[in-house]
């Protein structure tokens, strides 16, 4: 890489970061640029084009069909349900994870002797293979599962329910796993944010007594704004793409009641071979993520 012309005034900003005599070849960035360009730019662009074709993955030519895939998407009962499920799961998971994460961060911030252990224990689920832990949860929430058995033992047999088998409750079993995994992530983000907050402010709003809600609301919360942006944005993107937990718990059922946009992308493209329609659903998911993320950043930054 050639450096900016030496001795000219315009190079001041450049020389601030450049080490004299260190001649780095721009080729050093090239090996990294190629895979990123191919996967994150070229493939994404081609994918967006596929959304307007009726390609089945086999024929030589992809026929341009305009908005036909999107008309199909909006009249497709399962796809509409998938859009709704995706938004419902994501919004409830983000809210609950943030509430739990904030409570955990404030409770475990200092003073407690086992706080390091406790933080690790709450953070651990986030690191675990989502598909594998979803099978564990399926075993707990099954009709014959641990939850119903426990309800039986404590004399609440009437509360027993086919949590996963009932279309009305199946979606909430996925939410349980999402919140279980993401609360710990929100917790460490808030703990990290609390490091930059003066000790007295935290003390005044810590959960070691009553009546500190006002301090929390008007003093601590504004100080934590940068952490809130991250703790909302990261889980939002993760949950809008929810796939593994759905497969592990309900596999989209019963009767396709818990399909999400990501599971539909998979099924339409790679199970049915309908790449054009699958790409249209992927584009829909992309638009949803973009709109929700931009709206969040806009709202959270303005506060």
């Amino acid at each position: 890489m050639d450096s900016a012309p030496a001795g000219t005034g315009g190079a001041v900003q450049a020389t601030r970061r450049t080490i004299p005599g260190l001649r780095l070849s721009r080729l050093w960035a090239l090996p990294a640029l190629i895979p990123v360009f191919l996967l994150r730019y070229l493939a994404v662009g081609v994918g967006a084009y596929y959304a307007f074709t009726s390609w089945n993955g086999v024929s030589v030519q992809a026929d341009f069909v305009g908005l036909a895939n999107f008309r199909r998407l909006f009249s497709d009962e399962v796809a509409r349900q998938a859009v709704w499920n995706t938004l419902l799961l994501s919004s409830t998971a983000v809210i609950l994870s943030n509430v739990f994460g904030m409570l955990l961060a404030l409770s475990l911030n200092r003073l407690l002797r086992t706080r390091q252990l406790l933080r690790s224990m709450f953070f651990a689920p986030f690191a675990m293979t989502p598909l594998a832990v979803s099978y564990v949860w399926a075993y707990i929430l099954d009709y014959d599962g641990l939850l119903n058995r426990t309800l039986g033992w404590v004399g609440l047999s009437s509360w027993r329910h086919a949590w996963i088998g009932d279309p009305d409750t199946a979606i909430w079993t996925i939410l349980v796993v999402l919140v279980w995994q993401l609360s710990g992530l929100c917790m460490i983000i808030y703990l990290s944010g609390l490091q930059g907050v003066p000790e007295e402010v935290i003390e005044a709003s810590e959960l070691d007594g009553a009546g500190q809600f006002a301090t929390f609301r008007h003093v601590l919360l504004p100080l934590l704004n940068p952490a809130i942006v991250v703790a909302v944005a990261l889980p939002t993107i993760m949950t809008l793409r929810v796939f593994d937990q759905v497969i592990g718990l309900t596999n989209g059922g019963p009767a396709q009641a818990t399909e999400t946009l990501a599971t539909q992308v998979y099924r339409q493209s790679f199970v049915s071979g309908d790449y054009g329609y699958g790409a249209a659903i992927a584009l829909m998911l992309t638009v949803v993520i973009a709109v929700v993320s931009l709206a969040q950043i806009f709202i959270l930054r303005r506060r």
């Binding site: 996967l39 086992t114 003390e203 940068p226």
Partner: protein, 279 residues
Amino acid sequence: MSRLKYRKRTFAREALMLLAAALWWVPFYLVVALSLQDNEAVTERSLALPITHPELENFKEAWSGAGANLGRGLLSSVIITLSSVFVVVVLGSLAAYTIARHASRLNNVLYVTFVLGIVMPYQLGLIPAFIALRELGLVGSYAGMVLLYTGLELPTAIFLYAGFIRAFPREYEEAALVDGAAPFRVYWRIVFPLISPITATVAVVTALFVWNDFFNQLVFLAGTDNQTLPVAIYGFVGEFATQWNYVFAGVVISILPVLVFFIVTQKQLVRGFTGGIKS
């Protein structure tokens, strides 16, 4: 400061939190307990704790039994994860070093290109990536997966590396250059060892992403000889739906390494996911 004292109420809070954490861990106890029960106990969900008759047969069967072969899945997961981490660290640190240490318009463009890559919607690129790899004969291969994960994970790696290197003192490099060392030698012998804290973070975040990923591995590896652990377990559930004890032996083989990995690498992991807050 009376509030700083450990009071009775604090003790109550500590006990409450410990109880909550224990409940939070119920799935983990279950995994271990269930993997060691015989099939009847698992199907009956008698859930006897502590475990009286450890049943290691489940592991043997799941490890190399007909149609299961989680041993092979584990091997594939390890190979793909380690190779991806290696490539991401080498290419990512090199690119970030060039960008961070040499200000120019081109490097600014490169930096923005990489960082914007983080938010580019890869699920939209998945179908073209699949077609391209299929044409190249790379579907079902380790090389194809490493290429895929390199493209997906490099933007985050470069973002983390560039931020760290920019804040890093440059006296060592300047001294080495005065001594007449070649730039690549400076990078490899001086810079790379010095930035090892961020290398650890990048490696941990990348490893966890690749190891835990199911979506891409299902698309690219399902039905091939190189199925990873999650794909193998997924196939396992369909095949042995009633034999939960085998499923759980698989789940244990998948979760225990992550649990150990998590305990060892927590610090790097936390840094990887909280790095964006201070900026």
